[in-house]
Symmetry: C3
Subunit: 108 residues, 3 copies
């Protein structure tokens, strides 16, 4: 009766300058992403483990991290959608496996 079924999803953690928040959430909305959570006021430095050696963030950038749980088939289209943006701006996207309990959510 109380059993919780876990569903596999992919978690995207999109770190970018806060000034580009609306661009990113618009892209998520248009791709059909149902929701996201945003962590603000991050700081950061460097290129986050990527191999290019180009500067990614300055220490005084104000960064945000947008967290979204998406079906696996949305990962490639989303990364392709973000690619032109990240060719011109700083940022990174982490992709990882998560499970989410299918908890029906109502608001009154």
């Amino acid at each position: 009766m109380n059993a919780v079924t876990l569903y596999p999803l992919k978690k995207l953690e999109i770190i970018l300058e806060g000034a580009h928040r609306e661009f990113a959430t618009d892209l998520l909305d248009r791709a059909g992403v149902k929701g996201y959570t945003i962590v603000g006021n991050l700081s950061g430095k460097g290129s986050h483990g990527l191999y290019e050696g180009h500067l990614m963030f300055n220490e005084d950038d104000v960064l945000i991290m947008i967290i979204a749980a998406v079906p696996a088939e949305l990962v490639d289209p989303l990364l392709e959608g973000f690619q032109p943006f990240f060719e011109a701006h700083s940022g990174v996207v982490f992709v990882s496996d998560i499970q989410v309990g299918r908890l029906v959510k109502f608001r009154d």
Copy 2:
């Protein structure tokens, strides 16, 4: 001498309205969760990849994310414990695999 052994644990990321923080941490405490870290002042929107289509968060909710590393056998009881809450309130729980170094921690 300095070897670090990694232990597999499950990471829970519990996103919910800040007003319900104490409910959530009490539930964790009672379930035997040894610790947690809380990220405050999040914002968010939507239903986080779930399939119901019900509104989860409004854009002006003040959300928190409670991060806890727990043994795998605690995941099901915790999710069952949260289920009645999430039937009445907004929120989501992400479950993922992590490893934690067994670093003995003393405080003075």
Copy 3:
């Protein structure tokens, strides 16, 4: 043309008192970690799923979480580097698998 290749990396989430931020980022820099992102103003309690039962955080500690994406071969040296610190101070390191799109990043 727009194909996105994903590269496996390890994500470190290093939670410690904010007063020790520079120690931690210096250690990351010296180990060759290319970048990191810092979430500030966390709160927390307890020992985060470890087995020792010692107090890790007090509720009034100001904690930070340093997020870094690193090649797998850096995980052991980094954990060994942090070990003496965590023998004397509160904190925890979570290790998990992520994938990062190889998005070339330029800043003007």
